[in-house]
Every structure is written in C-alpha cells, then in structure tokens.
Amino acid sequence: MPKIVIDQLSLFYGQNQVLKNVNLEVYEKEILGVIGPANAGKSSLLRAINRLYEINYARISGKIRLDGEDIFDIPVNDLRRRVGLIFATPVVLPGTIFKNMSYGLKLYRKIKKQKLNDTVADALQAANLWEEVKDRLYESASTLSGGQQQRLCIARTLAMNPEVIMMDEPCSGLDPISTAKIEATMLELKKIYTFLLVTNNTKQAARTADRTAFFLDGELIEVDKTEKIFTNPADARTDDYIRGRFG
C-alpha cells in the first residue's frame, strides 16, 4: 500500500485555484521528486498534505490518505508530527539551538530531561550536524551558517520522529557544498523515512529522487521513474521544461 494517496485534490486561495484535480501516490521509503516552474502548485501540494494551508485560509477539495487513513480523520497536530515539513529558507526560531530542537518535542508530551537530550543528540547526528554544534547547543541558533541552519531545521523535524519528510526547495539558498551535505543526508535517511522533495533544481531531482513528478499550472503532468522522466518523458512539456526551454 502506498504511504500517501492523493485523490482528485484541488486547492484554492479565495477565487484562485492553485491545484487542479491532482492524483498522486507516494510510496514508502522512496524519495519522490516534485519539479516544475514557479506557481506550478508544488508548495501548495506539500501544504495540503500536512494541512498547513488552513492557517493561510485556503480550502481544498478531494481526498488525501496517509496509510489509508483520511488526513481529516487524524488530529491535525498528530498529522503534522507524522508528516514533517522543511521550508525553502531555513527559519530558526529565536533562541538557542537546543530550544529549537526541543520545541516540537515539548509540545508533544511530557518528556524526561535525559530522554530529551538523547533525542536531540540523535536527531542532530542523523542530520549530520552533531559534530559542528555539540559544544554550542546553548548558543543562539541564528549564529549558525545558512547550510547549518537548514540542517538544524531538518534535525528539528527528525526529532519529532516523523514518517514522511516533505522538503520545499530545501537547498534554494545554499551553496553547492551545503547542498551536497543535505542531499547525502537525505539519501542516508531514505532507509527510514519517506521523502517528498520539491525542488526548482531539476538536477537535484535527477541526483536524488527515485521517482519524479512534473507539475505545471497546478496540474500534475506526469509522474514516473526519475530516469524515465529525464530521458524519455511521455509529455512534450516535461521534455521542454527539463531541457530548460521554459521555467
């Protein structure tokens, strides 16, 4: 059974329809790349899956299922814990590195100090950040570099022990070395987590994704094995986009 099943999903901001009848499945422990030009609805897709669109007063129609369960039957806070989201620009909350890491955990339930410390350390290790920050956990998170901040955001999400990790152009503001580190982290973590990777960098999808979906103007044009999409796509528009004819 697929991890996530999206069925006839549409999303509206007021009169503006940004997703149009999307049907898509995400398999367990794969990286599904999502590519397409600006305003294709890629970010909205992620925000529909964890119901974050609600805080911006959008509305949706259609069904989304997580492990076969309708996401509207799951308490919204549980849903967002199970489906983590990493944003395009790393946003660290004001406060220390440790405070950033423990924020979500403390909301979740009462947690013993030792357990909290262990979880934070494990998550930082998994995000390949532990060595760089282990001696400065109580310094302000904003003192980290951009790449470190993004890995902190990933670690913060990992600490919640999610099932699916969605990334919204996670490397758009980063240098090639930081990007490589994050991609390496992702490929490692794929053994445990399911990934949805929205990217405006087609090469990144080619490097990391098992399958790739191409979106245009709120529509899913096609989804297939990454090799297939990049060598022999079914739709001419996909081909044009990948070859850089637009977007």
Partner: protein, 280 residues
C-alpha cells in the same frame, strides 16, 4: 511691476523659514522642560521624596503621592495588559478582514481619541457611584485601565503582526496547536514590542490628571488599601499650582513627574527601536 522670485531663491527662502520654524518648535518644547527643571532641581532632596505631605503641601514631601501614583499605575497596568494584549492577539491571529475585525479596531481607535475628562466623568459615575467603589485607588486604576487599553492594543497589534509568518508555519508543522504557537512562539517573539505599548501606557497613566482626580480623589493620607482615596503626583502638582499653595513645591513635584515620564518613555523608545531593528 511685479517682483518674481525664481525657483532657486524660493527654495532657499523656504528652506530657511522651515529650518527656523523647526528650531522654534524644538526650542519651545525644550524650554518647557528646562524651565521646570531649572526651578525644580533645587527642591529635590531625600527628604522631599520620603517625607509625608504637611499643611496641604506647603510643607513636607510627596511620599504619599509617589506611593499613590505607584499603586494606581501598577494596578491599572495589571488590569489593562491582559485585555489589551488579548485583544491584539485576537485581532491578528483569529480574524482576517471582515466585520468583526473592523468593529474591534474601530472600538480601539475611537477609545484612543476620547479625552481624559470623559473618562473622568465615566469613571466617576460608573466606578465611584454605581459600583460604589468610592474615591479610591481601585476606581482610579479601573478608569486608567480603560484609558490605556487602546495604546496597548495598537502597539501589541503592530508587534504581533511583525512576527514572521514562517515562525507560525514552523510551529504548526512541528505539531504545535494554535495556542501553543501563540504562547510559545508569537508572544515571546513580539514581547519587546508589547512591552513598549505597556510602558507607553504607564507613561500615560502617570501623567494623567482629569481622569484620576474624579475617581481616586485627592486625599493626602498614606494609602492603606485599594479602597483608599489617594492623590497622584500629577493631581498633587495640579492642586499645588492652581491653588497657588506653594510654587517651590510645585516645581519640585513637576520635576519628579517629568523625570519619571521621560525615563519611562525613553525605555519604551529604546525597546521599540531594538525590536524594529530586528524585524523590519
């Protein structure tokens, strides 16, 4: 024969006139403070600040008024802050556009423009007479609280609006609820801005006369409870000056009053400045 002035000349003339008028404005405003300080500083002494008031203010110090002002202001802030900040949170986090938002904003804007004598009338008839609280610290603080709520709402609203939306998204995407997000992310982040509003409110409360003279009265006794009548510094100063009881004491009281208010406003300004530098 007409005399025409070229654009360059008129520019220079305008510049000079504007500069002169600005200088006059600033000098006048500074002069007011300077004049009070010049005559008042000589009156300041430990005795003046810590002695009871005697012979209606002709003799002695201003301790009862300092304590009365402190009580009234603190109580007013304790009442007004939750109401003001709560309103601001509701405005920013729970409404978007719509009639409700308009009504709440309109209420705050209008209340902000109501003159203090109207608050005095209202506090007198409602708190002092209807609720039978009498001329007391409690009546005075309740009246002042109503008066400073709009200041706190407006400043807090701006501060909460300045919290980046991405912080909220992060909190939600880590499984935080709305209340968690407000209490643990939005309020702590906007705290300096909110404090600015609270401090501006304190400044307004300390300097107020018309609204407190008819609600807290003008007793010179040391206040013993929230039901005691008291005379705030501003009221004491007003009575000393208007009834000509003692000009030296009036200058001394005014100096204390202005120093406190300038200090309070300066703190508010510094806080606001640091907050703005961070988020704008």
């Amino acid at each position: 024969m007409t005399f025409r002035i070229g654009p360059r000349t008129s520019q220079i003339i305008a510049h000079i006139i504007l500069l002169l008028m600005t200088i006059v404005t600033v000098i006048v405003l500074f002069f007011i403070i300077g004049y009070v300080f010049k005559n008042g500083f000589a009156q300041l002494s430990l005795e003046f600040l810590t002695d009871r008031t005697r012979e209606m203010g002709k003799e002695g110090g201003i301790l009862p008024s300092i304590i009365g002002t402190l009580f009234i202001t603190v109580l007013a802030i304790i009442i007004a802050t939750p109401l003001g900040v709560g309103s601001a949170v509701y405005l920013v986090e729970y409404t978007r556009g719509g009639l409700l938002r308009k009504i709440i904003s309109f209420g705050a804007d209008c209340l902000a423009g109501v003159p203090s004598i109207i608050f005095g009338l209202f506090g007198f008839i409602f708190f002092v007479i209807q609720l039978k609280l009498g001329w007391s610290i409690l009546s005075g603080s309740l009246t002042l609280a109503v008066m400073i709520i709009p200041t706190i709402i407006r400043t807090s609203e701006e501060a909460i609006k300045a919290v980046p939306q991405s912080y909220r998204e992060i909190s939600y995407s880590l499984g935080g609820g709305k209340l968690d997000t407000i209490l643990k992310v939005v309020l702590p982040t906007s705290l300096p801005g909110i404090l600015t509003g609270v401090i501006l409110g304190i400044g307004r409360a300390i300097g107020e006369t018309a609204a407190v003279i008819f609600t807290a009265g003008s007793s010179l006794n040391m206040p013993t409870s929230v039901f005691s009548s008291t005379r705030t510094l501003a009221v004491h100063f007003y009575i000393l000056a208007r009834e000509g009881i003692s000009m030296p004491k009036a200058y001394g009281t005014a100096t204390v009053l202005i120093i406190i208010i300038l200090f309070v406003n300066l703190v508010a300004y510094r806080l606001m400045h640091r907050f703005m530098a961070k988020y704008y």
